[in-house]
């Protein structure tokens, strides 16, 4: 049907007038050895930890500009109050959430229950439940996730779908709430990619199947350049920014 990759590459080499083999000058980034990458990633972590207060401020500011409703919270209690009042104002009856570590310190189930809603973990118990979970997701009023990273430069939340964390929780319900801990914060896109690369190398070439980089609500301007929020993803996004763990 197609052509073998070797043949495809041969056409390219002919077009370039190039012999096979790696670039004569090694590409700096790819030439980086594991210890150097590890040291760089460690430096990224250390800097982020050192600069947490600044990163929190920057995150709050940038995320708000990018369309998040940012709520800075001093601790879990304040965060839960916010969840309750949000669930109440939405009149939420069904709230989906992921299964992530953050919910051990910020137990949102009770907070949603406090507003009269039901918070349930969107996890599959085998293939048969897939349709059912999806249908429930489609009918839920809000999805809650943690953040694997949060990037101050862009005001973004990064989630890495995996066991316990469906790809759909943060995109199918009309409202998404992300809980960001100080330890999730990174300064820049470069920081994020340094850490992901390290993960890739550490895990023998696997860093998971998916990465979601989320910045504000779903939006479109495809009709007369008029911005409408909430096309296929959430129309409303909330970020609970914890000032301490």
């Amino acid at each position: 049907m197609g052509i073998p990759s070797a043949q495809f590459r041969e056409t390219i080499r002919a077009a370039l007038g190039r012999q096979s083999g790696p670039p004569a000058e090694p590409y700096d980034v790819l030439a980086e050895e594991f210890p150097a990458l590890e040291a760089r990633a460690e430096a990224v972590r250390e800097r982020a930890a050192r600069e947490t207060p600044e990163l929190l401020d920057r995150m709050a500011e940038t995320a708000a500009l990018r369309g998040w409703n940012v709520q800075r919270c001093d601790g879990a209690e304040e965060a839960l109050d916010y969840v309750t009042s949000l669930a109440r104002s939405l009149g939420a009856t069904s709230v989906a959430r992921s299964e992530q570590e953050v919910f051990e310190t910020v137990p949102v189930d009770a907070a949603v229950a406090g507003a009269g809603g039901l918070c349930w973990p969107a996890v599959y118990d085998g293939p048969s439940s897939r349709t059912e979970v999806r249908q429930r997701l489609a009918e839920s009023d809000m999805g809650i996730t943690g953040a694997d990273y949060a990037i101050a430069e862009t005001g973004s939340v990064v989630v890495l779908p995996r066991r316990g964390l469906s790809r759909l929780v943060s995109v199918v319900p009309p409202v998404h709430l992300a809980i960001v801990r100080p330890s999730d914060l990174l300064g820049t896109l470069d920081d994020l990619f340094a850490l992901r690369r390290l993960e890739h190398v550490r895990n023998g070439g696997d860093m998971g199947s998916y990465l979601n980089f989320i910045t504000g609500p779903s939006r479109t301007a495809d009709i007369e350049q008029t911005i409408v929020v909430g096309v296929h993803g959430p129309r409303e996004v909330h970020m609970v920014l914890l000032d301490k763990e």
């Binding site: 197609g2 495809f8 077009a15 980034v29 199947s209 301007a221 007369e224």
Partner: protein, 486 residues
């Protein structure tokens, strides 16, 4: 492949410039996108912007210069992540590959997120002919699919449609009550497509970038449709032109900074999704199969020509369209194929043949606004000049057929300009011929061939009795400097 009607450029543009609705839409988009783009550049400072552009260009230059090497790395890593890579030399092969994947998986419904390559391939028709329901899910693409049209802009495919036209289209095609409310129209699309997302067997996406070292496909969207297409169905097929690869994940950062700002002026889009293989066994969801189709379809011809190679650095942001004074007057459809505007005027002749698209390289004043706006510093005017050269003098791999009249005229012009004596004679003859036709010292409307194409809207000066060279000789050469006054 998508229908090529590039030969109709002149008649298409003649109609387009008279279309006031189109003009209004183009102006809205052009000034809107470009205004925010400029603000975004100002915000990071022009100096930083230049550093980003240079960095991005270096990455592209390096990768395209070693494309075979990075494609091999990409293939290795996609495969290691559990995906499959297919290579298509042309549109026919690419479509056959996707059709086969669909057959193998018993696919009945496909949801698609925006992919210019798929437009280039004309993939939807091939799948539909196989009895598959194909749904475009980007709102703009959905609109033009319902209207049975093609995109008119790289990032805003339905830019040419007014809200009234979309309202009518939705009423006619979807049987919903007519509403010109844009929020309502977006809501309708959401409702209609929501079920398709959940029902679809296969999702098809394009790729903004392919990361060689990790085998990842990166898409950048605002609506969330890309996330759903790549997450919900059993099978995900990614389509990408072969030039989309970048070496490292680290290289992605600068492109994420440049692309949204250049495209719509957004500092970042709502979503960036990175797909690396199919779902892992432990994952809650995600497709069971991931296929990546890498497409040549004429790109290796652009690659082979050093003068045109940099057209493959393009990241399809559309900034060159938004600043192009020609695109802004004629819109995307007039360009006659999938890729419009300045970059389309290079890519289209490259992919469909210059003989088919001879007008495109000429349809520019070479004003250079496109090059200034390009986030990877692609020198579009220089490539347009190169294509004009190939068409006029018939060399190189894109040999077109130059016009004999023009070639004769060029030789005549060169001969006259090679001799000051002939040039002066020419002026005097021109004066002698035109002066009797002059009115108030200028030539107005006339039926003279070629000249009439100028004089239909502009007066033409009558050559004066003396040239500057003669005035210099007679009056200026000996008058020396009168600088002493200062």
């Amino acid at each position: 492949m998508a229908e090529v009607v590039t030969r109709d450029f002149v008649s298409a543009t003649q109609a387009a410039v008279k279309d006031t609705q189109l003009r209004q839409a183009l102006r809205r988009a052009g000034t809107g996108f470009d205004g925010t783009r400029r603000e975004a550049i100002h915000e990071v400072t022009p100096e930083v912007w230049e550093e980003w552009r240079e960095q991005a260009r270096r990455i592209k230059e390096h990768t395209i210069g070693h494309l075979d090497y990075y494609l091999e790395m990409l293939e290795r890593n996609v495969t290691a992540a559990g995906g499959r890579v297919h290579f298509a030399a042309d549109a026919g092969q690419a479509n056959a590959i996707v059709a086969q994947i669909a057959r193998d998986n018993g696919v009945r419904t496909v949801t698609k997120s925006k992919s210019m390559v798929s437009e280039e391939l004309g993939l939807n028709h091939v799948l539909e002919a196989q009895g598959i329901d194909v749904f475009e899910t980007d709102l703009g693409e959905y609109i033009i699919q319902l209207a049975n049209e093609t995109p008119s802009h790289l990032v805003a495919p339905a830019l040419h449609k007014t809200r009234r036209q979309v309202a009518q289209l939705f009423a006619d095609q979807l049987g919903v009550p007519y509403s010109e409310d844009i929020e309502e129209m977006a809501r309708i699309a959401r409702v209609v497509l929501r079920q398709k997302f959940l029902d679809a067997d296969m999702g098809i996406s394009g790729a903004n970038f392919l990361v060689a070292e990790t085998g990842s496909l990166v898409i950048i969207t605002n609506e969330g449709n890309g996330r759903l297409c790549t997450s919900a169905p059993r099978v995900h097929v990614g389509l990408a032109g072969m030039e989309k690869v970048i070496p490292s994940l680290q290289d992605l950062a600068v492109f994420l900074r440049l692309l949204p700002r250049s495209a719509t002026g957004q500092r970042i889009t709502s979503y960036m999704s990175m797909v690396t293989g199919p779902r892992r066994p432990d994952d809650e969801d995600g497709p069971e199969e991931f296929h990546l189709v890498i497409v040549d379809n004429g790109r290796s011809r652009l690659l082979a020509d050093p003068a045109l190679r940099e057209s493959l650095y393009c990241i399809r942001c559309g900034a060159c369209l938004n600043v192009c004074p020609v695109y802004q007057r004629v819109g995307g459809h007039a360009y006659g194929w999938v890729y419009p505007g300045p970059i389309g005027s290079i890519v289209t002749p490259g992919l469909v043949g210059l003989g088919q698209a001879k007008d495109l390289p000429n349809a520019s004043t070479l004003c250079g606004a496109c090059r200034d706006a390009c986030p990877v510093q692609i020198n579009i005017p220089r490539m347009l000049l190169h294509l004009r050269h190939v068409a006029a003098e018939g060399q190189g791999s894109y040999q077109g057929t130059g016009s004999d009249t023009e070639s004769l005229f060029a030789r005549g012009f060169a001969a006259v300009m090679s001799s000051p004596r002939l040039l002066n004679l020419g002026r005097k003859m021109g004066r002698w011929l035109l002066a009797p036709l002059a009115n108030r010292g200028v030539l107005g409307q006339t039926r003279l061939p070629v000249v009439s194409r100028w004089t239909r809207a502009r007066d033409l000066p009558i050559p004066p009795p003396r040239s500057f060279a003669e005035i210099w000789r007679d009056e200026l050469s000996n008058s020396g400097s009168d600088s002493k006054r200062a």
